[in-house]
Amino acid sequence: MLFDLPILSTLIWTPIIGGLLVLMAGEKWARMSALFFSVLTFILSIPLYTQFDVSTAAMQFGELKSWIPSFNIFYQLGVDGISMPLIILTTFTTVLVVLSAWEVIKKKPEQYMAAFLIMEGVMIGVFAALDAVLFYIFWEAMLIPMFLIIGIWGGPRRVYATIKFFLYTFLGSVLMLIALIYMSIKADGSFSLLGFHTLPLTLEEQLYIFAAFLLAFAVKVPMWPVHTWLPDAHVEAPTGGSVILAAIMLKIGGYGFLRFSLPITPDASSELDWLIILMSLVAVVYIGFVALVQSDMKKLIAYSSIAHMGFATLGFFLVFSIIDNTGSWREAALGMEGGIVQMISHGFISAAMFLCVGVIYDRMHSRNIADYGGVVNTMPMFAAFMVFFSMANAGLPGTSGFVGEFMVILNSFKADFWIAFLAATTLILGAAYTLWMVKRVLYGEVANDNVANLKDLNAREFVILGVLGIAVLFFGIYPGPLTEVMHSSVEHLLQHVSIQKY
């Protein structure tokens, strides 16, 4: 019976309707009902994986309904090997976010939970939409709950951070809207994304459209130099907000490159790939150094997110120089898959890192590294988790953090030695900033009375971090299931971008 449902629509609307119900349920039942709906959505998303056909690059679980006929806009959904893992990552992370807020959020918990559930539905919509207007609606609608989450439950400078976040991303995306409308006029009024993929465009048109997309997605990823909203937003957001931001919203930028920039404007991407590679390398190297000097834990992780996402974009845009050097698009698959694996893995690791900071922040109400020291003495269990996730963040083999980075670095040798060299500095820098933070926070003498009075993880926190730990370890040791589902889609995409469009 379950499988007769249009599964993607169910995934989008269950949390949204659930969110509204949570809002009505009131303060007392907010937590339980939110947990119910998030777990329900997660369970409903499992068939996406089990019934997924790995042998095809075509869109699966498709739905198509006429929505605004006078405007040729369809309610069209579907997923391929690139978006499916991201949807499951979304449903998975939301459960953790709901759990993480359990006792911590005391102010209007029903609004908090509802915002996250509605957000979940909207984000799944972004990954599943195959109509440009539908995509754009989900893309923009995402801003509203996040704007409220940071603004209502955030830290002292929350208003500044959230308005900056909203305006930055809004500015980034309006030009994309113009590009989308422009293409629909070219395509005789159709807004179908798959139609855009095969739409012939001249190089000049492609360059403009690419620029519009770049602005939208680079802000979202975020790439240097348009990354400045992220540290502010992360620092001020409540733990759950940081987790969703880092684990999923940033991935939407990366997803945009794969779904829009590369297939719609392959020639412009090929012309300007040096720009993206340059921006990615700056993110990896320069932002790595910036992370090193942070005194605020959340800021440090925020900068490390930017550096790690630089790896994803690097993996995506190495394609063209690899095709030039080797003459075959098949050679580039490793890098692109590496980028996607990096996105998924970063989803787990950054979520875990922010949750770790959340755990001690809830106890000490400080994110300053200087306020800590010797936490391992009072919280040994927590320290074990934090060390583990930090190692993963630094790319220790055996964790998922290693897999993506390794694939990208390996592949970048085929493009250029120096790109590979600069990318590989992350292994040093990442280890430096993460482990140095771990050393200052966890080890050494017990710094003060507050630290001495800390209590170790409770069962709820243990479960959250434990589940994430298993995920990080599993994909580190056996990334097969992940690369397997995306393989056909990546090959299809590479084949598509290697053909000139005009």
Binding site: W67, I68, P69, S70, F71, Q111, V133, Y136, I137, E140, A141, L143, I144, F147, L148, G151, I152, R158, V159, T162, I163, F166, L167, F170, L171, V174, L175, L177, I178, I181, Y182, S184, I185
Partner: protein
């Protein structure tokens, strides 16, 4: 002589049935109100609502696809006019409903507000159906005179009187400009009929200096009535100075009528000159978008802020007309209808938060609304995001369609300017959301209002979301009437 008399026949009169019905009802209300005291004045209110309902039914019954003109071509009934009129009735009915309690609490619940309001509606209806310069002017003046006196309704208030005076002087000047332009066009074409003028321009060529001069003055007059920069100076002062129910009235339905006037004069009459007016309107649109959005940021009074936001919305509306063609016109029509609904919603919220002796007209009055009432904070949030054009609210589709029309007309730079300024505009709309959700409430008085006001404000807010999810029907209507 007998020939002239014979022109007015029975079918001609039937054409103007809604107008005549409303005129009759308004006169009845005007007289009846003399015999009512403050306790029974509610009858005036109910009758006014009933008149609007009656006019709506009559108009709805007349709705057909064929355009019919009468009164020697001075008056036309077509589907665009019908839809615009129906929206004018609905919006005005909402305005009357919102204002009732506010006026009662301030001892201003007088028959004049309704009589003048209905006369204004009549003026708008004539503007919508006008097909001759003379009828356009008649309708416009009937509307304007009603508005001038409505602004001055609270005669003891210095601000209101000043606003009314300003409005009257500037409005009269604008009317003069419009008349001057019309007279030039009449001089060269020899006809007041919009259709005749159109045919004259097509036959004799658009390259005529007097014609161009006439067009300039007509555009100036229209820009004045719409409130487009640089002819916008009256808007903030009048919005601010007038009592909130009057501002509410001015901000909504007259914009629909002004749109109709632009359609009749520029599109029906002078489409052959569109290269000329496109350029003029482009300048007006860009200036309106820029000034409206930027200056709105500096406002602390929400009525003034909404005035500047109106100016920026007018800029967007003009973009649709500039894009020209059925696509552009229907986009502009959709925009103006949605704008009227958003504007009533926003002013309705101000009225809802106001109470006896207290005006909720500064931004600070919205502080912490989420703590006082989650529901109304959410309604205001929907209205604000709709004005900013953020999906999934309907304001997004209004902007989307206009942008599509502009891009279709190959004016990419204009679309880029429009979206960039809408980012600027987003700032002051989300600032209201910030005040409502992120700040602490300064006064925690409970929101007291009659049930009808509460229900309709809620419906107004929800409509932003519902129309945003299902905009197809209204879009199809706008598309159909412009073919």
């Amino acid at each position: 002589m007998t020939d002239k008399m014979a022109v007015i026949e029975i079918p001609d009169l039937a054409l103007a049935m809604p107008e005549m019905f409303l005129l009759g009802m308004t006169c009845i209300i005007l007289v009846l109100d003399l015999f009512l005291n403050d306790k029974t004045r509610i009858i005036t209110y109910l009758l006014a609502q009933l008149s609007l309902l009656g006019a709506l039914l009559i108009t709805y019954n007349q709705t057909g696809t064929e355009a019919v003109s009468g009164f020697s071509g001075a008056f036309v009934r077509d589907s665009m006019g019908d839809i615009l009129k129906i929206f004018i009735y609905i919006v005005t009915a909402i305005v009357f409903l919102y204002s009732r309690q506010y006026l009662q609490l301030r001892n201003m619940f007088k028959g004049e507000y309704y009589a003048l309001g209905l006369f204004g509606v009549l003026g708008m209806m004539i503007m919508v159906s006008a097909h001759s310069f003379l009828t356009v002017y008649l309708g416009l003046e009937l509307l304007s005179l009603s508005l001038y006196s409505m602004v001055a309704l609270n005669r003891d208030s210095e601000a209101s009187t000043e606003a009314a005076m300003k409005y009257f002087v500037l409005g009269a000047m604008a009317s003069g400009m419009l008349l001057y332009g019309m007279s030039m066009i009449y001089g060269i074409s020899g006809s007041l009929d919009v259709g005749e003028v159109g045919r004259f321009i097509v036959n004799n060529g658009a390259n005529n200096i007097i014609l161009s001069f006439g067009l300039v003055f007509v555009v100036v007059g229209l820009a004045f009535k719409l409130g487009a920069v640089p002819f916008h100076m009256w808007v903030p002062d009048i919005y601010h100075g007038a009592q909130t129910p009057v501002t509410l009235y001015i901000g909504a339905a007259p914009k629909i009528a002004a749109f109709a006037m632009v359609m009749r004069l520029l599109v029906d009459g002078m489409e052959a000159l569109h290269v000329d007016w496109q350029q003029m309107l482009s300048i007006l649109a860009v200036l309106s978008l820029a000034l409206g959005n930027v200056v709105a940021i500096a406002q602390t009074n929400i009525k003034r802020m909404l005035a500047y936001s109106t100016i920026s919305h007018v800029g967007f509306l003009l973009l649709g007309i500039i894009a020209a063609g059925p696509d552009g016109y229907s986009a502009a029509m959709f925009y103006v209808l949605i704008y009227a609904l958003m504007s009533t919603g926003a002013f309705g919220m101000i009225i809802l938060l106001s109470r006896a002796g207290f005006e909720a007209d500064t931004l600070d009055d919205f502080r912490g609304l989420n703590e006082r009432s989650k529901w109304y904070a959410f309604m205001m949030l929907l209205i604000m995001f709709s004005m900013a054009g953020v999906p999934p609210t309907v304001g997004f589709f209004a902007k989307l369609w206009v942008l599509e029309a502009v891009l279709n007309a190959d004016m990419v730079w204009l679309a880029a300017v429009a979206v960039l300024f809408s980012v600027v505009g987003a700032y002051y709309y989300i600032r209201i959301v910030k005040l409502m959700y992120f700040d602490k409430a300064e006064d925690d008085t409970r929101i007291v209002a009659d049930i009808d006001l509460k229900v309709v404000v809620s419906a107004n807010g929800i409509l932003m979301l519902v129309l945003g999810l299902f905009p197809g029907m209204l879009m199809a209507v706008c598309q159909r009437v412009m073919v």
